[in-house]
């Protein structure tokens, strides 16, 4: 029996077609997405370390003046205090300082009948330092109204917002060192971080 087997594997290698480059790898893309919404957060205030003058301290959100007037002249005593707020705004925003009364006014509902020569509202200055920007609101107490000051901050901010309240010696809405009419005096100062 004669058998002729013709196995030409070398010929097969020479004629094998190479795979196209695009089949030799396969890539799948999977995006990862999320969002960070615009937020501003102001934490509750705390008394700043360091000296405060003629203030009893911060109770909750209330700064209580110790001796508002000199006991002999009834002129306004100087007072100053600094308060800190931990704050963050994750976007370019606006800082607004708003005084409810534009000065320390008597809290009784009836407006006082101004008695000549007496102080019936006490002006003060509020200075704010935040995100490298400083601004101040002078509550001049000349009229009882909402007084406001705003400043634009063109970048996100995170850290400590510093508020300093300063009452000058003899401060008065009538005449420096004029005696102050008796009563409870107060103002509400709001700090607002908001979109521009």
């Amino acid at each position: 029996m004669t058998r002729v087997a013709l196995l030409l594997a070398s010929v097969a290698v020479a004629t094998a077609m190479p795979a196209t480059a695009q089949n030799r790898s396969a890539t799948t893309n999977m995006p990862v997405i999320g969002s960070a919404p615009q937020i501003c957060v102001l934490q509750p205030p705390r008394l700043a370390p360091g000296a405060q003058t003629n203030f009893r301290g911060l109770s909750g959100e209330t700064l209580q003046i110790d001796q508002m007037v000199d006991s002999t002249t009834l002129a306004t005593n100087a007072a100053s205090a600094s308060v800190q707020f931990d704050a963050v705004c994750s976007f370019p925003h606006r800082l607004r300082l708003e005084s409810q009364n534009n000065g320390l006014w008597r809290t009784s509902e009836l407006p006082p009948t101004p008695s000549a020569g007496f102080t019936y509202a006490v002006p003060y200055r509020a200075e704010v330092s935040w995100a490298g920007v400083n601004t101040a609101l002078d509550a001049d107490a000349l009229s009882r109204r909402v007084a406001e000051r705003g400043v634009t901050i063109d970048r996100p901010g995170a850290g400590t917002l510093e508020l300093r309240i300063e009452i000058q010696q003899g401060a008065s809405n009538v005449r420096a060192n004029a005696p102050v009419i008796a009563g409870y005096y107060g103002d509400t100062l709001r700090i607002v971080l908001e979109p521009q």
């Binding site: 029996m1 004669t2 030799r24 396969a26 999977m30 990862v32 957060v41 995170a158």
Partner: protein, 185 residues
């Protein structure tokens, strides 16, 4: 007398066919049949969930810091195969704010790092950490042909620059995970 030489009388001339070795009752012929299959990889498809990992809101809105509970369900590449020895490579780019592209101010970051993992193809899963200086484990080799599912997951999220930094506000933070199967030699 005629002498006839009967030379043939005692001998028979037998006329037979030639040598038996060259021819027989059966003959056989054969031919080879050859072909080839190229080395190729196919990435498979993601069924049902789409290809995007959507983490939603990235921050704790009361603090502005990265949420500590960020998670997205893993994805499965179904029907992946390579007809020969192969490598699997996972790559990831950190999530970056797409609109806020300037350098972030002090106290802020615009980038979130994470780790992407592709498992099921090789004995050791391929991983890529976007915050790492190098990722040698991002390429793994499968020594044989294989067909199977690849599980892709992301995790270990961290604010780039430090966990105390806040994320700048941006509605679009975007990163990309890629998984590549390639024929290996």
């Amino acid at each position: 007398m005629t002498h006839s030489l009967i030379l043939a009388a005692g001998a028979f001339v037998a006329l037979t066919a030639g040598s038996a070795a060259a021819q027989s009752a059966t003959d056989t012929k054969s031919f080879a049949v050859v072909g080839n299959v190229p080395a190729l990889c196919s990435g498979g498809t993601i069924v049902g969930t789409g290809s995007t990992f959507d983490l939603g809101v990235l921050i704790d809105t009361t603090t502005g810091l990265l949420r500590t509970d960020l998670a997205a369900p893993p994805k499965v590449l179904t029907g992946s195969f390579c007809s020969s020895r192969s490598t699997i490579t996972v790559n990831a780019t950190p999530m970056a704010a797409q609109n806020f592209t300037a350098a972030p101010p002090a106290g802020f970051s615009r980038t979130v790092d994470y780790t992407a993992t592709a498992s099921g193809w090789t004995a050791t899963a391929a991983t890529f950490a976007t915050g790492a200086g190098s990722n040698p484990g991002a390429i793994q080799t499968r020594p044989t042909a294989f067909s199977g599912d690849i599980n892709v997951s992301i995790g270990t999220f961290a604010t780039n620059g430090g966990s105390g930094l806040r994320l700048v506000s941006d509605t679009s933070y975007l990163g990309l995970v890629t998984v590549t199967l390639a024929v290996a030699n």
